[in-house]
Symmetry: C2
Amino acid sequence: MTTIRDVAKYAGVSVSTVSRYLNHHPDLNEETRARVERAVRELDYVPSSAARNVSRLSTRTVGLTIPDIQDSFFADNAYGVEQYLREKGYALIYGSLDRSGQRLLDFIRYAREMRLDGLIITPEEWSAELLDTLKRTKMPVVALRRRPPASSGIPCVDADHYQGAAQMVEYLTGLGHRHIAHIVLNTDIGRERLRGFKDAMEQQGLKPLVVSVPEIPANRTMDGIRNGAEAMKRLLEKAPRVTAVFASSDPIAIGAMATLREKGLRVPEDVSVCGSGDLEMGALPWFRLTTIAFERYALGRKAAELLLNMTGKEVCAPSSVLFETHLVLRESTRAV
Amino acid sequence: MTTIRDVAKYAGVSVSTVSRYLNHHPDLNEETRARVERAVRELDYVPSSAARNVSRLSTRTVGLTIPDIQDSFFADNAYGVEQYLREKGYALIYGSLDRSGQRLLDFIRYAREMRLDGLIITPEEWSAELLDTLKRTKMPVVALRRRPPASSGIPCVDADHYQGAAQMVEYLTGLGHRHIAHIVLNTDIGRERLRGFKDAMEQQGLKPLVVSVPEIPANRTMDGIRNGAEAMKRLLEKAPRVTAVFASSDPIAIGAMATLREKGLRVPEDVSVCGSGDLEMGALPWFRLTTIAFERYALGRKAAELLLNMTGKEVCAPSSVLFETHLVLRESTRAV
DNA sequence: CTGAAAGCGCTTACAG
DNA sequence: CTGAAAGCGCTTACAG
């Protein structure tokens, strides 16, 4: 492995000079710079980031958690994060979580060993252990598309799912629907949507009909579909009069559609179905799913921006930001 | 930041002893070990991996490229890689490529700076620059689900798509189909499938009918669907007598189905459609897609295994491995 | 504009 | 079983 010393020797300069070249130091004689450049090229020298990091204060790197590599929204979020970080000269390290709380803990440990400058995380659950670890870690943290407990002081960046759900209820009731069911997703975000659904329904003097998805989370598209199909079966038994189903995610909505199809019920003629999240798949001709959309890319960017702000010496009061949602109207819903 | 020196002072031992504790050195008096353990815990000390890496030879870390974070197969591959690496005590760093050749080059650079022990990559194209960079890098490399040119000497792990395509042709002709079209994917793997298709067709004395997907690659599910829909339109104009369509990927097959649906043609009554890859989505009741499957998890594991073998001092002749494929028969195909 | 030297936080022979 | 010292590959004041 060739080191900075080899380069210095080859170029006939001191190690300090090579270091200056590597760090784009302005005070460098043009001729020396050319000599060093040549040496670096000819020796095919690549500086060691480990060595660099021991003698520096910051690694200029942040960690971003991959909640589940099948999570359909992650790519857009991550892209926003990456773009912003790149502009600011920061590197990004991904931590694959696979929906496991232990993996997150492992990644936080790793981040500490690496001396990362900050963390953008998307935990499935805010366990006491996680919260405690985060507090001890003393590393800037922002939650992306997740809602940390207010007491944690961790800022979050998310879409305003409460508002989104309320918009959807308003739209459905505007179409004349009175018997509207909500298929709940049991996550922090799902609970936000549930709140929005309930409040909006009650405000209209309607009874909020709610059915839960059988299993735990379900960020994976196919799990969501399976869960949605199962939930729809229950719903049909429990409330056959329902005319509209508002699912807490698009996969759940698609699963619900599968069950309706199986039972010989047509969408939207017999039942209107809508989801949330604006999964690309929902636009396919088989589904034409009405849904709630939000800016995935912008969310990622904003999370990165918040994080880097917290990186400064002073603790700027970190405030969460919720993005507005908007409805995407397609043919899976219609007036009763 | 607390350092090893702080821990040593706190525990009343030397820095070497703390280091021994951290590295699970066997020769450590039980009482000292307890003292150090306590100090580490009370000071909440986490060793710096950067510092550790400068004084060690290996980082025991390998890099794995994420071709496109939307790539539906990536998760399973990555999981296999992670599992194996974890068993062997190696860490994994992901590099997001976003289908950009430049990003791969950047990641290779990064890997060199990090002094990673090896790389598992999935490039879209084997450009001369990439091949050259890889050669200069002197780092063990294996290609996963991609086919490097034989001259590069880079081993690859992939499914035997040639064989898979041949199996599919055999199945379709067994059903009595004579006019079979193949929608080609313009990637190294797509070309393998094309070869298999052509050879198998010709062997049966049939004319291989081929239509290309309009755009470049298309690992993203939705791009594949769009491309498949477009290709199917062309195919219908070019060869209206076709009774079976073998698409080079499942998204392409689904796109083809969308076009057939739009034209009022039924699957499989009017046209049989099948794909390749065994995307989970293909199992949905709307598609019931016949396809070609292979072990995604095992592929990842094997790639990691090959790589670690190359890590040893001696250059073991690296040999590629191709996994067998098998057909998944569903209701999108039937006898003419 | 450049070099010598100290230091970053670890690990690793080498003694004892 | 433990410590003192040298070293890993860089960066960064400090001189000049």
